[in-house]
């Protein structure tokens, strides 16, 4: 009754093959990451030093460090967050907690999906038209950051919406049935329990924002500046832009220099991602249900 048939043997052999094939595909994913990191560390590593991080570029960007672009990126990311997080979180709260299923909600959701799909260079042109020219911010940190904010808004909205949705409905029911309004429910129960997911979204947005080049290229990032920005209406250098410039447009740059800049940039992003993962794990451990 329970003997193996020829068909069973064949099925099992195919099962084994398929499994190995899929495993290989999955392992191949690691390769690009390892190669990129390996190359950057091998070639850019020797450039790194405390002085590299704390001195501005010199000699027509062929020597010196990356202080100005580094500070510029921090400026851009900070202003972009200040602009996009409140808007994104509020929009997500509306969509998840208030919005009825009607045409307006559907249009908003469609807009978010499309916003996420717009190529970054198109965002850049939008930024030039809207912020640089129409609102007369000029090429400035403000214009560049707002462009970045518009581009990363879907990241914040989607992350926030998902983390709000992961709060069990029973909690809301319990509140509503005691006569709490939606806002009381959100403020006292839903948000405190969704905050880890929201922060994860914000941190992911930071890493995305820090790495983008196209949206800031025409809106606020400078080719080279011999000073630090003093306010949001100044132009600034930025890490991603600096990397692009010294790799393509400046003659006589030592070969290792771009690798060093790239290594710092990717480290910033990786540290941010690691922070977000660690933070999520920490908060999940504290979760009480």
């Amino acid at each position: 009754m329970f003997e193996t048939t020829a068909l069973n043997t064949r099925s099992r052999r195919i099962e084994g093959l398929v499994r190995i094939l899929f495993l290989m595909m999955a392992v191949m994913l690691i390769l690009p990451v390892l190669i990129i990191l390996g190359m950057l560390i091998a070639r850019g590593g020797p450039v790194l030093s405390w002085a590299f991080l704390t001195t501005p570029p010199t000699n027509g960007m062929t020597a010196g460090g990356i202080l100005f672009p580094l500070v510029g990126t921090v400026w851009l990311v900070t202003v972009a967050l200040i602009a996009s997080v409140p808007v994104g979180v509020a929009a997500a709260i509306y969509l998840s907690e208030y919005a009825p299923d009607n045409w307006l909600t559907r249009v908003i959701n469609l807009a978010i999906i499309n916003l996420a799909g717009v190529p970054s260079i198109v965002h850049a042109l939008f930024g030039v038209g809207a912020f640089v020219l129409f609102f007369r911010f000029g090429t400035s940190i403000l214009a560049a950051s707002l462009t970045l904010a518009v581009m990363t808004l879907p990241v914040v909205i989607v992350a926030t919406r998902e983390s709000l949705r992961s709060v069990p409905r029973a909690f809301r029911e319990a509140c509503w049935n005691m006569g709490a309004t939606r806002w009381q429910t959100i403020r006292k129960v839903v948000l405190p329990n969704a905050i880890s997911g929201i922060l994860t979204g914000v941190i992911l947005e930071v890493s995305r924002t820090a790495g983008e080049t196209a949206p800031i290229m025409f809106t606020g990032a400078a080719f080279f500046l011999p000073f630090l920005p003093q306010g949001v209406l100044d132009q600034t250098m930025a890490m991603s832009m600096h990397l692009f410039v010294i790799s393509t447009a400046v003659p006589g740059v030592p070969e290792e220099l771009p690798y060093g800049v790239a290594l710092v940039l990717i480290s910033m992003v990786l540290v941010m991602n690691a922070l977000s993962v660690g933070f999520r794990m920490y908060l999940r451990g504290k979760k009480k249900w």
Binding site: P100, A170, F171, A174, W176, M178, V189, K288
Partner: protein, 281 residues
């Protein structure tokens, strides 16, 4: 299970007296009164011409097979059904003599007057203390309530639900870490500080083990008299030992409503006796 009925009832105190009291308060005003109440979920009619008079201060159980409309009726009383959006009703529901379906009714006040307990205990992911104070804080938002007053409120509510001794040393602990039975008691406790008139309970023991069920039933008896309690249950023995009056529903209609003893011992409708004796349901 039916055999254990009388025993358990003796445990929780005064079976005979309870029945007498039930009869005595039958002249009291009505907590819930519905007239020709019909309800549709979309095109499906879930309730048919429900005329019920639920008396104040006693425990009324609702029994009937799954899908007979018990929970729907319960959820109509505090108007939480309408959140679904595709619900339509005709007829009236009066709570404590006031039409709750009227346009000018403040839903937040309805929900304050009518507490609801669910099948699965749903304490909020807060401390035990904050769970008890949650409703009170909502309904006294903007007022200053001293720590000692809050302490009294918490102690009274937890004593009322027979939970004080178990949790008094860990009021700051997470409510979701309590055993299920204690969670359900806590869910009842958090309703009490806002002084509701009516407690609706939708199968409050169905997620509990027999011991937990007994403890929560005991609590429900303790609350009897102070609150009007309407309890939906699938557990026939529970309805029998833990209610004054009993409503039997079938396919959206009220088939029988009377003293629990009468409904169980001498039902008027053959469908009631069929259900009680377990021929369907």
């Amino acid at each position: 299970m039916a055999d254990s009925g009388p025993d358990t009832r003796a445990d929780v105190g005064a079976p005979a007296a309870a029945t007498e009291e039930g009869a005595a308060v039958s002249v009291a005003p009505l907590a819930i009164e519905t007239r020709e109440f019909n309800l549709w979920y979309g095109t499906f009619q879930a309730l048919f011409d429900v005329d019920l008079k639920i008396k104040s201060g006693i425990i009324t159980s609702m029994i009937g097979p799954s899908g007979c409309g018990k929970s729907t009726f319960l959820r109509s009383c505090n108007r939480i059904n309408e959140r679904l959006g595709y619900v339509r009703t005709t007829g009236t529901i009066d709570i404590m003599g006031h039409d709750v379906l009227a346009d000018d009714v403040e839903l937040l006040q309805v929900r304050k007057q009518i507490g609801m307990v669910f099948q699965r205990p749903n304490p909020l992911p807060l401390s035990i203390r904050d769970n008890v104070l949650f409703g009170h804080r909502i309904h006294h938002a903007g007022e200053k309530v001293s720590k000692s007053d809050e302490g009294e409120i918490v102690e009274k509510a937890l004593r009322d639900v027979l939970l004080w001794d178990e949790v008094k040393d860990d009021l700051g602990g997470p409510a979701t870490g309590l055993p299920l039975e204690a969670q359900q008691k806590l869910c009842i406790a958090r309703l009490l500080p806002v002084k509701p008139a009516i407690l609706l309970m939708d199968e409050p023991c169905s997620a509990l083990d027999p011991k937990g069920t007994e403890a929560v039933e005991e609590l429900i008896w303790e609350l009897r008299g102070d609150y009007t309690i309407l309890i939906v249950t699938h557990n026939m023995a529970q309805a029998r030992r833990a209610s004054d009056e009993c409503v039997f529903m079938l396919l959206g209609k009220v088939i029988e409503h009377g003293l629990t003893e009468d409904v169980f011992l001498s039902p008027e409708d053959p469908q009631t006796s069929d259900y009680i004796e377990g021929r369907y349901g």
